[in-house]
């Protein structure tokens, strides 16, 4: 029996276990939307702007471990996805993006709503396809899912011309995927593993350094065993927060530009750095030549191209983190490292995270309280980009993997709220809190409509300082306090804004209101904006200045912001 390309597409998505698709319809995807309507297994979530669809698919993927799926029409529908695709690419998130395209005979003629999306997304997707023949469609979808979720995950785009999705053909259950040019390495080289174990056993001042790869690999348990066996302190990147409980005595929190002071000092002093699923990004290393200058470096990563890209390593080890750890752990000796751990404790005491204790409402305080109130619940926190993102990373204290969603690599403002929508849809019974700033929130605040339409009781913790505060901070330090174009007067009244969507709005202006109002909002089963009115003169400390080493941080000075 002949079916249309659109029906084949939907059937293959169902075969891949897809239950949610985020999207926005249009002319070129009419046949696909028609077939989608008939699907009993797949739920479609209509967003307000296509960028939110990719961010939502990303939030869904990050919290469930499945591949996120989104869909848009041709032309402007597809170009609106670009930032979202680049965001997922930089953070290695498995997302499959389906775009409509004009009919094959119109491609290349500057037709209405036509754009070369495969050309445009070439630098920012793991791979992409333009389906020219309906007979290839099912195979291509299966390949797309395979590529998206295996090896180093990433976004894969499939461009489907309108005539292909309307064309009739016979549907065959697609075969398993076999790509000649794509065979990721999972198992580590046995000799290298042995060598790695030796280095770890010999080290006097080891530090374990975990990144997003540990989460993608689902290796949190193995990581914990490693840390406890070696008694080594552990630090993580922004994207890996939660992969090791930050409440554990060996946790150093996050490392890098705005990492904890003690993480930065400890890494600078260590003699062995065990990097697991990290890529030594410039936010983490500071000036590369000054990064962990005394340490031998072990780099375990599934992507061989990352090894040696930014930092020279002594022991490269290509493979999947979990698979390698399983081989490595039996060879690692139990150690106590008393002297080193004592040193680490001393550094932690001497250089804790600090912020001003005066009367004003402090965002750091709010984050701390949020952490206390939610950490033991089944919670997902998303953030946007800016000061609030850094404070969340510093003060929340994550304890479980897949609970911290943020745009780490690309630093995309507007990520947090749509990602929270995706996370909530993938995890109906979890508490989802989107921490954001007034700048970031305004980028996709229209998605309140999406949240309301789908009854999602997401909480938006909005730090409102009427300012693009992180840019202002940079201007404070690097531009002699010339605050250029960072002032956001003209912001709406966020409480009234929430109400015109039928959502709730709660405002916090004083420190003592924090806990009771947070509790009220977190328990009210409604989409809620919790607005915290804070000062635009707050700074994120510590801060590693440009071209400086991690141990050359600017610290919070007492008395700097007295009288507020």
């Amino acid at each position: 029996m002949a079916v249309t390309g659109a029906e084949i597409l939907i059937k293959t998505l169902e075969y891949e276990g897809v239950d949610t698709v985020f999207g926005y319809p249009g002319g070129a995807v009419l046949p696909i939307y028609d077939a989608l309507k008939e699907s009993s297994k797949i739920k479609h979530i209509l967003v307000r702007q296509e960028q939110a669809a990719v961010h939502a698919a990303s939030g869904y993927a990050r919290t469930t471990g499945k591949v996120g799926v989104c869909m848009a029409t041709s032309g402007p529908g597809a170009t609106n996805l670009v930032t979202g695709i680049a965001t997922a690419y930089m953070d290695s998130i498995p997302v499959v993006i389906i775009t409509g395209q004009v009919s094959t005979e119109m491609v290349g003629t500057d037709a209405f709503q036509e754009v070369d999306i495969t050309g445009i997304t070439m630098p920012i997707s793991k791979h992409n396809y333009l389906v020219k023949n309906v007979k290839d469609l099912s195979r291509i979808i299966r390949e797309a899912f395979h590529i998206a979720k295996t090896g180093r995950p990433g976004p894969v785009l499939v461009d489907v011309p309108k005539n292909v999705s309307a064309q009739l053909t016979k549907y065959n259950i697609p075969e398993d995927v076999d790509l000649r040019g794509y065979k990721p390495t999972y198992k580590g080289h046995p000799t290298q593993i042995k060598n790695a174990a030796e280095l770890i056993n010999e080290a006097k001042k080891p530090v374990i350094f975990a990144g997003g790869g540990v989460i993608n690999s689902e290796a949190a348990a193995e990581l914990k065993i490693l840390v406890e066996k070696t008694s080594a302190p552990i630090t993580t990147t922004l994207n890996a927060l939660g992969v090791f409980p930050e409440t554990h005595p060996q946790s150093l929190g996050m490392l890098g530009l705005h990492g904890t002071p003690y993480a930065n000092y400890v890494v600078t002093e260590c003699d062995l750095l065990v990097g697991l699923g990290v890529r030594f990004d410039d936010r983490v290393t500071g000036a590369v030549e000054k990064f962990a200058p005394n340490a031998k470096k072990i780099h375990i990563d599934i992507d061989p191209a990352e090894i040696g890209k930014n930092v020279e390593v002594d022991l490269p080890l290509v493979g999947d983190v979990k698979t390698i750890l399983e081989e490595l752990l039996p060879l690692v000796e139990e150690r106590e490292n008393r002297e080193w751990n004592a040193r680490v404790e001393k550094i932690k005491k001497e250089y804790p995270l600090k912020y001003g204790e005066t009367l004003a409402l402090r965002p750091q305080y709010v984050i701390e309280k949020l952490g206390e109130l939610t950490r033991d619940k089944d919670v997902v926190i998303t953030t946007d980009v800016g000061q609030h993102q850094m404070w969340t990373a510093q003060y929340y204290k994550f304890t479980k993997p897949r609970t911290m969603l943020t745009s780490g690599g690309l630093g995309t403002m507007g990520y947090g709220f749509p990602a929270a929508i995706g996370a909530q849809l993938g995890n109906r019974d979890k508490l989802v809190v989107a921490v954001t700033g007034d700048g970031s929130f305004q980028m996709h605040m229209a998605e309140m409509g999406t949240a309301v339409e789908n009854n999602l009781p997401v909480k938006v913790l909005l730090f409102n300082n009427n300012c693009l505060a992180l840019v202002r901070q940079l201007q404070h330090f690097y531009c002699n306090k010339s605050y250029s174009a960072v002032d956001f007067s003209g912001n709406p009244d966020f409480i009234r804004f929430a109400e015109c969507y039928g959502a709730k709005g709660i405002r916090i202006t004083k420190t003592e209101e924090t806990v009771p109002k947070l509790e009220e909002a977190l328990n009210n089963d409604s989409l809620t904006i919790i607005e915290c009115v804070v000062s635009n003169e707050e700074m994120v400390y510590p801060m590693v200045p440009n071209n400086k080493g991690l141990n050359e941080m600017i610290h919070f000075e007492e008395g700097e912001d007295d009288g507020r």
């Binding site: 070439m122 333009l130 000649r180 040019g181 061989p304 191209a305």
Partner: protein, 165 residues
């Protein structure tokens, strides 16, 4: 230092764009690029000459490997390999100088493929050294136009570099 990479890719439309886009994005310098079918019509071979030190070449190779359609990459710079390039040179050749030019053509075992009133087109195949040498030798006469194919290369000996041993 120049490295010669022999890259096997699936013969699909857009592969060349992906490779070129990758090089542009990562900032690698392509000296020359030649591509054509192999004995297997589904597979093409690209011979890419890249400028860079060992670390750059290592990154280039690893990033290329991430492209789905790239099957195998060999850095054959150090291997014993046969490499050839073809060049067509249109040179001024008025009757007074024609003899001299013909002598150069013979010395290099090149061929004349077009006779004009005041010019000749000379075709030469050879390794980079030979190509450069004949171009230099013809320079004094006035070169009107040059087109080069870029280098192609094959490793000496019985080993195949096409994924089979």
């Amino acid at each position: 230092m120049k490295h010669t990479l022999s890259v096997l890719v699936e013969n699909k439309p857009g592969v060349l764009t992906r490779v070129a886009g990758l090089f542009a994005r990562r900032g690698y310098n392509i000296d020359s690029l030649a591509v054509g079918r192999t004995e297997n019509p589904e597979i093409s071979r690209m011979t890419i000459v890249v400028e860079g030190d060992d670390r750059v070449i290592e990154q280039v190779t690893k990033q290329l490997h991430k492209l789905i359609e790239v099957i195998k990459i060999n850095d054959i710079t150090e291997d014993e390999h046969v490499h050839r390039e073809l060049i067509l040179i249109k040179v001024n050749a008025d009757p007074a100088h024609r003899m001299e030019i013909m002598q150069i053509v013979n010395v290099f075992r090149a061929r004349v493929v077009d006779f004009g009133r005041n010019s000749l087109i000379i075709e030469v195949t050879g390794d980079e050294g030979k190509i450069n040498a004949i171009e230099n030798s013809l320079h004094p006469f006035g070169i009107r136009e040059v087109v080069r194919t870029g280098k192609v290369a094959m490793v000496r000996g019985p080993k195949h570099k096409n994924g089979k041993s």
